[in-house]
Amino acid sequence: MKADPLVEVENLTKHYPITEGVLRREVGRVRAVDGISFDIRPGETVGIVGESGCGKSTAATSLLRLEEPTDGRVLFGGEDITTYDKSQLKAFRRRAQMIFQDPSSSFDPRMSIGDSVAEPLKIHGMRDRNRRRRIVEDLLERVGLSARDADRYPHEFSGGQKQRVALARALVVNPDFIVADEPVSALDVSIQAEILGLIDDIQAEFGLSILLISHDMGVVRQICDRVNVMYLGEIVESGPTEDVFDDPQHPYTKALMGSIPKPDPRRRGEGIELTGDVPNPSDPPTGCRFHTRCPSVIAPDDVSLGQEAWRNVLHFRSRTARGDLDPRSLAESHLPTEELPGDEDADLARDAVNQAVRAEFDLPSPLSDSEAERAVTDAVDALVEEGTAEAGELLREAFPTVCANRAPELVETDGRRVACHLHDESVEATPQEDVTFGIGDDD
């Protein structure tokens, strides 16, 4: 039986309202963090990894209540901190500290670093100046600086040294828990290794629990015991670091791992490439949020197209469903000018649109599956005669996929949790033959 967790996060949610007009009427919500749960045991380092905009930093600030969470509970040592009042919160802040990404902007340039490091002690009521000084000097030495540095100012230190000072400042109140938000991403690689080594040593020495937020899989791998992979406000996979990184189960984790360039020129082009951008978190895709970029979306049983063509059909489907597909500009992008009708208002020929759609989405004409071919042709007709929304409706009916219709639950698989229908036994998954997209020239 393992120790009880120090921090338990349950269904943590942070939405930012989008308001309009003088009445600040809410017209939408940015779902930055949308119901995440994980725990951290004493002396453990847990990582949150994901692309920019996935909500990892918001998760950190709202679990410390630097921002008020919209929903969910955070248990710290068994107590729910979301119900804390001001004085309880202050006591909690002594036990939980944070380190930020940019060491330059997290220090007051007009305060000596000794004063900066001692400030938390002052806030938490230590009045004895000499005692504060002794603690600061001791800590500066423990993070690899010298006691005399206490009288120097932030500009006299390099980025790596400043990050050491930031660590000393976090440690000064003797916390149990530190949240480090991208602590090394502003530093050069040679300095990164040093700071990560220091964090590791300090953690062992002080028996700290650490939550490390990073976009860099290498950093997370180096010091985290367990890792949570986030995508668009949700955790898609979590488990022991080695397991998750050596044998990722969720297609997103696979792609994320596959996109890291390997420092080995002989393995160039072996990476997996994701198409498209991270969708807008104010309007996340239905079902599995990753399905718009996922290389292994589950196809309906009666479609046999091969993964790549199926993917392209899905692109067509999701673009029409979003309603931002204009046949005219599509034709302008793909057809020579002389084939377009000169008059702006004239209707485009059906053939021209058909050609442009197939060029835009890289769809062969005809598709290998005759049912699918008919559906795509019908959709093109609808695009010309009725409108984008109608075409989207047709495609949605013709190509239903569980990935777009139902959000996957986090399920236990091989000692980790994965939120993907491919790992859900209730879903009959017959993935289309897998195609890996390489970055290299040999694809």
């Binding site: 040679s190 899989m217 996109s259």
Partner: protein, 365 residues
């Protein structure tokens, strides 16, 4: 290929860039030499402050002069750009030499549509009508992978995501079909999944346009992904230069070895270099890396930096600025000490075989 196959497209020789500052003269680039052929990608890699960006900005002199001063030769297809007039340089910039910068937000003007900006770039270097330029802009946007280019051409930069913005910047750099593309950390501000897309795009475009690319990065993973040849810089000096495979599998300079060792996430072998970059106004005597080098001997601490010396191996251009490669020194002291690749094994064996062939080497350990 160009008509003269022996002549590189760009040949930078003994380039110096100095800045006069209140704190003294900063020799940001101090005797840098490298060549770039057509269709070839040369990566310049180094930590921040190593002078990699300044050396590339000096190629088309887009640095402020004064306080900057540039000397040496930059031979671009037979023309020395260091002596070229401002007018001539303006034709070359964005014409035969395109630039892409790290932060795509800063490279685009927020008050004009991306179309206007690309059209401007086209019309600066090509005598075409606005309509034709617009058509060409749409073609370029489509080529760099922007969906529905014809509609997006009239969007403003803020309406694009970071990755899409970098694609727009690339389209703009390609407007005049440059022979040489200088890409300064073009993927550093992007997420890994987007970085992979942009690297692939650059590689495809390079093939299509037969461009030479100078690619600046601090990320050795990116270097391994796209470089043909690599220049390793440290404190304004070239530490090592060579073919990408040799550099990763048989790094010659202790600094390159240290850089490879400190990559995070490659097992437990992660070793920090220790110390920090030297003060740019007062670099150490001798080898710039000597205060942080575990092999440094007395000769490393006096006089000038050793010039790059050829290193034994299949690549003739592979050289390292380290005293151990001088005649009379035992280069096996610094070689064969690094686990350079992720799976190590093969590289290790190749290296030992190499060392045994060295006449003055002490043989494999």
């Amino acid at each position: 290929m160009s008509d003269s196959d022996t002549q590189p497209l760009l040949s930078v020789d003994d380039l110096h860039v100095q800045f006069d500052t209140d704190g003294g003269v900063v020799r940001a680039v101090d005797g840098v030499s490298f060549d770039v052929d057509r269709g070839e990608t040369v990566c310049i890699v180094g930590e921040s402050g190593s002078g990699k960006t300044v050396s590339c900005e000096a190629i088309t002199k887009i640095i402020d002069i004064p306080p900057g001063r540039v000397s040496g030769t930059v031979d671009f297809d037979g023309e020395n750009l260091v002596d070229a007039s401002q007018k001539r340089l303006q034709q070359v910039r964005g014409g035969r030499i395109g630039h892409i910068f790290q932060n795509p937000q800063g490279a685009l003007n927020p008050v004009y549509t991306v179309g206007t900006q690309i059209i401007e770039a086209i019309q600066l270097h090509r005598d075409v009508s606005k309509g034709d330029a617009r058509e060409r802009a749409i073609e370029l946007l489509d080529r760099v992978g922007i969906p529905e280019a014809a509609a997006r051409v009239s969007d403003y930069p803020h309406e694009f995501s970071g990755g899409m913005r970098q694609r727009v910047v690339i389209a703009m750099a390609l407007a005049a079909e440059p022979d040489l593309l200088i890409a300064d950390e073009p993927t550093t501000a992007l997420d890994v999944t987007i970085q992979a897309q942009i690297l692939r795009l650059l590689r495809d475009l390079q093939k299509e346009f037969d461009m030479g690319i100078v690619f600046i990065t601090h990320d050795l993973g990116v270097v391994a992904e796209i470089a043909d040849r690599v220049v390793v810089m440290y404190a304004g000096k070239v530490m090592e230069r060579g073919d990408v495979y040799e550099l990763f599998e048989d790094p010659a300079h202790p600094y390159t070895q240290a850089l490879l060792e400190c990559l995070p996430g490659r097992g437990d072998a992660t070793e920090a270099i220790g110390g920090s970059l030297p003060d740019p106004t007062d670099p150490p005597d001798g080898c710039r890396f000597n205060p942080r080098c575990e092999y440094a001997v007395e000769e490393c601490r006096v006089g000038e930096q050793v010039p790059p010396i050829g290193v034994d191996g299949p690549d003739d251009d592979h050289c390292a600025a380290c005293v151990y490669y001088r005649d009379g020194y035992d280069s096996s002291t610094v070689r064969g000490t690094v686990t350079a690749t992720t799976d190590g094994g093969t590289a290790r064996e190749a290296k030992t075989a190499d060392d045994s062939e060295q006449p003055d080497g002490g043989g494999p350990q």
